[in-house]
Symmetry: C2
Subunit: 190 residues, 2 copies
């Protein structure tokens, strides 16, 4: 999506260690009118899937998930992160390794809100190794819900998570796909 | 707001220890079409304030903040929580005691995104003791931004936070104001 690529080139900040910060419009400050354009693009891509629910993970996925849900007219469910494993019988739980923070998190959703009848569109801000998304698809599998699509804002294709998910049969649509990124600030899109 | 009061009476769950769970539409699953009605109500209440930014706190404030920001056509900034104090010179930082989790959190926003020229509308889901909101107003004070209003979804008036904020001169508008709540499930609104 050219609009997004241009914005990343203009406002993204690259830090050593393969870090792309988009805190001015995605991850800390959220440029809501801009993100609404991305939400409409997800609707264009997935409008034929009979989506009943949007699933995301706290915290930075919630904004884009809610704006997308508004276009679809469906609820959002956000998985909660915790350091400790919640083995309550009321939740589905999966384990996610955070690439950014180098910590293991457990993600949970209440069984009450993720149903076998749900047709789930998963939305998240970043896709790199795909760990968060594997956790979310695992929660859907446990619930018996069907994942009808995955939409992410920025994918770093060279980290391989997106292709692993595609090989498993998921329809992953990332609005900007970064092929390479150098510490001196050069970004190349696919 | 009658729409919200009715929904709380229908779907809110009360647990011992003065806990009101609204996980089915506010805090875990977000009923986005419903929350959009609340967002419009905030716009009706605060549309004359020349709002330039909406400030909230991760994680459960982000959804309603983004939906409200869409009506206003402004960005959202969400304060980040951390267990450890971030004393970096790039952020404003304040300390917040969480009533729900009985822990002390530090909340931060990047100095880059909260400006002396900002006219800030603070949006959050719950108002009880007001600790989170005091933290957010403190961040605005540090930045020299003007808080032009505070909108919360559910206020427990008997916990006093709302009135403390009003006494300090803040225009606090809560869409449902709970006067009393009993363990056996009775909720009385103001």
């Amino acid at each position: 999506m050219k609009l997004l690529e241009d914005r990343i080139l203009r406002d993204g900040e690259i830090y050593p260690g393969d870090i792309l910060k988009v805190d001015s419009f995605v991850n800390h400050q959220i440029d809501v009118p801009f993100m609404c354009e991305l939400a409409k693009e997800y609707h264009r891509l997935f409008s034929d899937r009979k989506v009943t629910k949007i699933l995301t993970i706290e915290a930075s996925g919630i904004g884009i998930a809610c704006l997308t849900a508004q276009v679809f007219g469906v609820p959002v469910l956000f998985a909660k992160k915790s350091r400790t494993l919640n083995q309550s019988s009321d939740v589905y739980s999966s384990t996610v390794f955070s690439y950014t923070h180098k910590t293991e998190n457990h993600v949970t959703v209440s069984k009450q809100y993720l149903l076998p009848t749900d047709r789930v569109l998963i939305i998240d801000d970043f896709l790199a190794t795909g760990n968060a998304l594997f956790g979310l698809t695992d929660l859907c599998k446990q619930a018996g819900s069907e994942v009808v699509g995955i939409g992410t804002v920025i994918e770093k294709t060279y980290q391989g998570g997106g292709n692993k998910l595609r090989e498993l049969g998921y329809d992953v649509q990332s609005l900007a796909m970064i092929k390479s990124m150098t510490d001196d600030g050069k970004i190349e899109f696919c």
